[in-house]
Structure formats: structure tokens, C-alpha cells
């Protein structure tokens, strides 16, 4: 980038209005089902989850069901569950069972609690539903040397064990990898992840790559956003925000309904109590919105 660009750009950016994204249609509903509670404390976690982080608490089965009811009336197409670690939730399987009655469901997990019994129950549940069920399994390097410094000592082996158990039960997990190591998303990097899955006997390896957000623990590790990393009106042709997931998603936590899965630790990300409160537009004033725009991020599969 030219050295001149930020200098020219910065003052004008601060003067320009923050663009707003309209909700085109509410297709994807997220649940922060385990709140910010996790059995890991990864050094790149953009919402700093840990065993003691209760910024958001577990969502009760009751709360999930209320939102599912409202979601079906609004014609939501798909449901995603994340945390923290969703399988720490004692009612997680009941929640999935209720969800799979009304639509397809995906769980984002770190894989540590995917023992053979749980995987067998999940596979049976998927079998009973007319809708698709997916597991997204997080990993950040293709060996212990690259993964464990991020996710914790011994996690590489345990994630592989989780993948093995899921596959043995008949669930083909989508390996979810961040660009915390830049080589992860290169063609060679992708091939190494595919090979890992093939070594487990998975014939159709599936992979999802996500950028890192300079938020939470990752910001502590690598620094927060720079002041110029913000969207301004005119950055994109008017109304052409379809590449942003917030034009088609919302996120339910125990603190209310938020705009997207990324801004849950930013109070400004909260939009209301019920989905009906959140059908209006949202101002893209947070620096993370800049990452979404530049990388075209979507957290869904």
C-alpha cells in the first residue's frame, strides 16, 4: 500500500458517516448456546472464551425454544450453535433435537467432548431428522507443533480423536481452520488439512477457512485494530452489502439478540430482546466490520 494512503484517507474517513447494513432476509440464526464458557482458552479466541468467562451464560432450552418459535414464523432457513464449547451445555442434545425438527442445524465445536457415545447419539439424531446436521470442528494447525501453541497443550491429538469418533459414527465433520498461520489457507496448507482427514479414513474431507479478528484474546496477542481500519460510507456501492453476513443473520445470547456472531463482546452489537426487535438496519461502525468487508467473511459453512 502507498504510504500516502492512510494519511490522505484518515481525516476524511472520520468525517464520513457510518454505513448501515439492512437485513435483507433473516436466513441464518445463531445461538451463543454455551455463552463464553469453554473448556479451552485459545490464544486467538476473538471473544476470549475460557472456563470462567461468563460474559454470556448458557442459553436455557426454554430460551432456545422461544427463539425457534419466533424464527419459524419469520422463515429462518438454518440454525448454528456456538460458544464457548456447546457440548459443555447439559441440554445440548435436547436443544439440537428441538432444532432439527424445524430446520438444519450446525454445531461449532472444539472436538474435546466428542466421545464415541456422544457421536453415536448425534448420528442417530441426524438420521431421524429430515434436515441436515453438521459438526464444525476447530483446528489451527496441521500438527501439534503449530496447533497446540494456539489451542493448548495436547489439543491436536484430542481434536483428531474427536474427528475420528465423529467419522466412525457416520458424521463427516467440517474442519474449521483460521488464518492464524497464514499458510493455513494456501493451496498447500489446505492440502495438508485434507490429508490429515484422509488419514483418518474420511474420503470426502471438508474444510472451512476463517480469517482472524483482532478482538479479544487475539487482540491481546497481536494488537487491536488500527484507527483507519473502519468502514465509511461510500466504501461499497449503496445497498450492496450482500457479502456481509449481518445482511442475513442474527445471534441469540442470554443477554438478548445481537447483530452477528462476531460482535457479541461489544455492547454496541446488541440489537434487542426478540428477533422482531432486530429486523431493522445496523451501523457498521466497528473495526471488525472492516475485516468482514475486506475478507468477505461468513461464519456459516
Amino acid at each position: 500500500m502507498s504510504l500516502l494512503t492512510p494519511a490522505v484517507d484518515r481525516p476524511s474517513r472520520t468525517r464520513r458517516a457510518v454505513p448501515r447494513v439492512e437485513l435483507r432476509s433473516l436466513d441464518t440464526l445463531w445461538f451463543q448456546v454455551a455463552g463464553t464458557v469453554c473448556n479451552l482458552a485459545c490464544s486467538h479466541c476473538f471473544i476470549s472464551c475460557s472456563p470462567t468467562n461468563r460474559t454470556h451464560e448458557f442459553l436455557s432450552l426454554e430460551t432456545v425454544k422461544q427463539h425457534l418459535d419466533e424464527a419459524t414464523r419469520l422463515g429462518v432457513k438454518e440454525y448454528y450453535f456456538t460458544g464457548g464449547e456447546p457440548f459443555l451445555h447439559p441440554d445440548m442434545e435436547a436443544i439440537l433435537e428441538a432444532t432439527l425438527e424445524v430446520g438444519p442445524a450446525t454445531v461449532l465445536t472444539n472436538g474435546l467432548l466428542l466421545d464415541p457415545q456422544r457421536c453415536a447419539r448425534l448420528a442417530a439424531m441426524a438420521e431421524r431428522s429430515e434436515y441436515s446436521f453438521d459438526l464444525r470442528l476447530s483446528m489451527d494447525g496441521y500438527d501439534a507443533a503449530t496447533n497446540d501453541p494456539i489451542r493448548g497443550t495436547g489439543t491436536f491429538e484430542r481434536i483428531m480423536e474427536g474427528a475420528r469418533n465423529a467419522h466412525a459414527a457416520g458424521v463427516n465433520p467440517v474442519l474449521t481452520v483460521t488464518e492464524v498461520h497464514s499458510e493455513n489457507s494456501t493451496p498447500a496448507g489446505r492440502d495438508r488439512f485434507f490429508d490429515l482427514l484422509r488419514e483418518l479414513g474420511i474420503e470426502h474431507p471438508r474444510l472451512k477457512i476463517l480469517p482472524v479478528f483482532q478482538l479479544g484474546a487475539q487482540a491481546e496477542r497481536r494488537g487491536a485494530y488500527e484507527s483507519w481500519q473502519r468502514l465509511a460510507a461510500g466504501d461499497v456501492d449503496d445497498g450492496s452489502w450482500e457479502h456481509l453476513q449481518c445482511s442475513s443473520c442474527r445471534m441469540v445470547t442470554d443477554q438478548g439478540v445481537w447483530v452477528c456472531p462476531i460482535l457479541v463482546n461489544e455492547p454496541e452489537g446488541r440489537m434487542g430482546e426478540t428477533l422482531a426487535d432486530t429486523l431493522d438496519s445496523f451501523p457498521l461502525g466497528h473495526p471488525a466490520c472492516w475485516t468482514c468487508h475486506v475478507h468477505g467473511v461468513s461464519c456459516k459453512t
Partner: protein, 341 residues
């Protein structure tokens, strides 16, 4: 609710941890993580409550009904017919197109519709043009027609995985190079949706979905409640779509129908070489009768033409075996589990 489970998990794993790691695991006790700051829990929660809106019941109703309403498309309803044939995804397969026109006529269809995606995948794009014109087929544009007629750089199929996009790009480049400008202009002249009356029912014909030309409506990824909302919004008794390449029909609790009519350009990833199209006719009770029909065609000649045109052998294998070899990553878990590759 019990909060024992995570604490236990933490305690269990703590046995293997050094002091620094334990600090990290317990650092958040009683605190909230606000961005990268650590603040008292209540400070975060109070701040969050200042954001967003909390509408009263009447306002919520209003917001929902505004969200669910759509302006009428005002297009003229064609028909009425007693029986129509509908297909999508020709993908340059002139043999499939000949076969469907013959089969539809034999079964007494009064009108034939094509829901778009004329090109891609198969050989010699120009061959289907006279068949479409002579057959007086009521066409709508798919993403392929939209892209080709506007000179777009890709097919806008809506794939997300590089493996899918690789083969989609080969298809699109081949079709874009081998279709005449006149044919491309003709493609762009078709409407994006049609309404057709069959008996007493009004059918809305689209390519992907009424919302988006390249939306994938796979059976296992499309909730019934979502479809009811779509039909309410569109004021139709049935929606007919294609784009995914996999046919299905669902009668909704409201008695309305959604039909993914299938494609005649390549088989349905089931190990069979035939392709699929749909016949819709008026039932004696005023209801809509839906038939998904398998359609054999001269797939060996198609495969031979594809080889002559140097199209990827992966595509040829799909035609000869009935199993998809490409564009698999877009499949939802259920449909993917049923595929061979």
C-alpha cells in the same frame, strides 16, 4: 441451570497445567470481556442493555408484518392449463432436451417451461437454441443466462469452495466462448420469473428461489416453515425452482406445494444415468398433482461429444455413471452422504 459441568471440566484439566495456564483459565472470574478489556460483569451487561431496542407488542407485530410483506410482482398469469411440463438445467445437453420435449408431448403437456441454466457442463452450447425456439418453450433466466448475456466474468452459481469454483470456471469459460453473441442476447431476453395457472392453482416459476436467482434449495436444507413464509409473501399456491440439480417435492401443511423440478443436463447423483423433470396437472378435486419423472436419453452420444470437445473427463464420468464428481462441496450433509465422491 447447573453450572457445574464447565467448572468440573476446568478442574479436571487443571491437573495438567502450569501456574501461568491456571491464571489464564481463572482470569475471567466475575469479569466480562468487553473487546480486549476486562471489566466487572455488570458494567458490560448494563452497557449492552443501553443498545438495541425493546419494542412493545404492537410495534413487534408491525415490524414482523413489514418484514414479511412483499410488493406484488404484478406479472401476468399465463394459462390456465390442465397439464404442464417443467424442467431446469439443460447444461448444453441437446440430447436431454430432445428427449424431454418428446416425452412431455407424449404425456399430453399443453405447455413446456424451462427454469434456466441453459449452459455449462456439456458440449456445443449453440445446439439447444433451435430446439428451445421450435419447442416454444417458456423460458426464464437462470444465473447462467444472466451472466452470459451481461458478459459477467463468472457464472455466479453461488459456490463457496475453491474445489467447486475450479470446475464451475471451466464450464463457464467453455460456454461463454462457444455460444454466439446472438444466442447470449436471446438468453438475456427472458423474464426472471413467471406465473402460470394450472387448474385452480397459481404456480410461481423461478430459477433458484423467489428471493435470489442463485439460492440453493436442497431438500435437507430447506425448512418447511421457511417455504410457508415464501409462499405467503409471493401469494402463490406453489413454487417451482431448480438450480441445485437435485429434484424433490414437498406438500406443505398448508396444502401448498414446492417442487424442485430437477435438471435434464446431468443425472441426479444417484448412480443412474437418467435425468429428471416434472409434470404438473390439475387434479379432479381442484388440487395440484405433481410427478417427478425420470428421463432416459442418449447419454452415450452426449459423453462422446463431450470428449470430442475436450471437456474434463470428470464431467464425462458423471454422465456415464450417474455420480457427480464435481461441485460436491455445496451439497448439505444429508445429500453429500448419499454421494459416491
Amino acid at each position: 441451570m447447573s453450572h457445574r459441568v464447565p467448572e468440573d471440566a476446568a478442574r479436571r484439566s487443571r491437573r495438567h497445567l502450569d501456574a501461568q495456564a491456571i491464571d489464564k483459565l481463572t482470569a475471567h472470574r466475575g469479569k466480562a470481556t468487553w473487546g480486549e478489556k476486562l471489566v466487572p460483569l455488570d458494567e458490560f451487561r448494563d452497557a449492552a442493555l443501553q443498545y438495541g431496542r425493546s419494542l412493545d407488542e404492537a410495534e413487534r407485530k408491525g415490524a414482523v408484518s413489514r418484514y414479511l410483506s412483499t410488493a406484488s410482482d404484478g406479472i401476468e398469469v399465463e394459462g390456465p392449463y390442465q397439464r404442464i411440463a417443467v424442467f431446469g438445467g439443460i447444461y448444453n445437453n441437446s440430447y436431454g432436451l430432445e428427449a424431454v420435449l418428446e416425452d412431455a408431448q407424449r404425456r399430453g403437456a399443453e405447455a413446456v417451461y424451462c427454469l434456466g441454466d441453459f449452459g455449462g457442463f456439456g458440449p456445443n452450447p449453440e445446439k439447444i437454441w433451435p430446439l428451445l425456439e421450435q419447442g416454444e418453450i417458456g423460458c426464464i433466466q437462470g444465473n447462467y443466462e444472466q451472466s452470459l448475456s451481461s458478459g459477467a466474468v463468472d457464472c455466479n452459481c453461488g459456490y463457496a469452495d475453491p474445489r467447486d469454483n475450479h470446475f464451475a470456471a471451466i464450464s463457464y469459460r467453455y460456454t461463454a466462448k462457444n455460444a454466439s453473441e446472438a444466442f447470449k442476447r436471446w438468453m438475456g431476453g427472458h423474464p426472471l420469473r413467471r406465473r402460470v395457472r394450472v387448474g385452480e392453482k397459481e404456480l410461481l416459476l423461478v430459477h433458484g428461489s423467489p428471493r435470489r436467482i442463485n439460492e440453493f434449495l436442497f431438500a435437507s436444507q430447506t425448512p418447511t416453515a421457511y417455504l410457508e413464509v415464501l409462499l405467503d409473501q409471493e401469494g402463490a399456491d406453489a413454487v417451482l425452482c431448480t438450480h441445485t440439480g437435485l429434484q424433490w417435492h414437498r406438500r406443505l401443511p398448508s396444502g401448498r406445494d414446492v417442487v424442485n423440478v430437477g435438471v435434464i443436463g446431468r443425472p441426479a447423483n444417484d448412480g443412474q444415468t437418467h435425468v429428471w423433470y416434472s409434470m404438473l396437472h390439475a387434479g379432479s378435486e381442484g388440487d395440484l398433482q405433481v410427478e417427478l419423472l425420470p428421463l432416459p436419453y442418449d447419454h452415450e452420444s452426449l459423453a462422446a461429444d463431450m470428449r470430442r470437445e475436450d471437456l474434463p473427463e470428470e464431467f464425462v464420468q458423471t454422465i456415464l455413471t450417474g455420480w457427480w464428481t464435481t461441485c460436491l462441496e455445496i451439497l448439505p450433509a444429508r445429500e453429500r452422504a448419499a454421494s459416491r465422491f
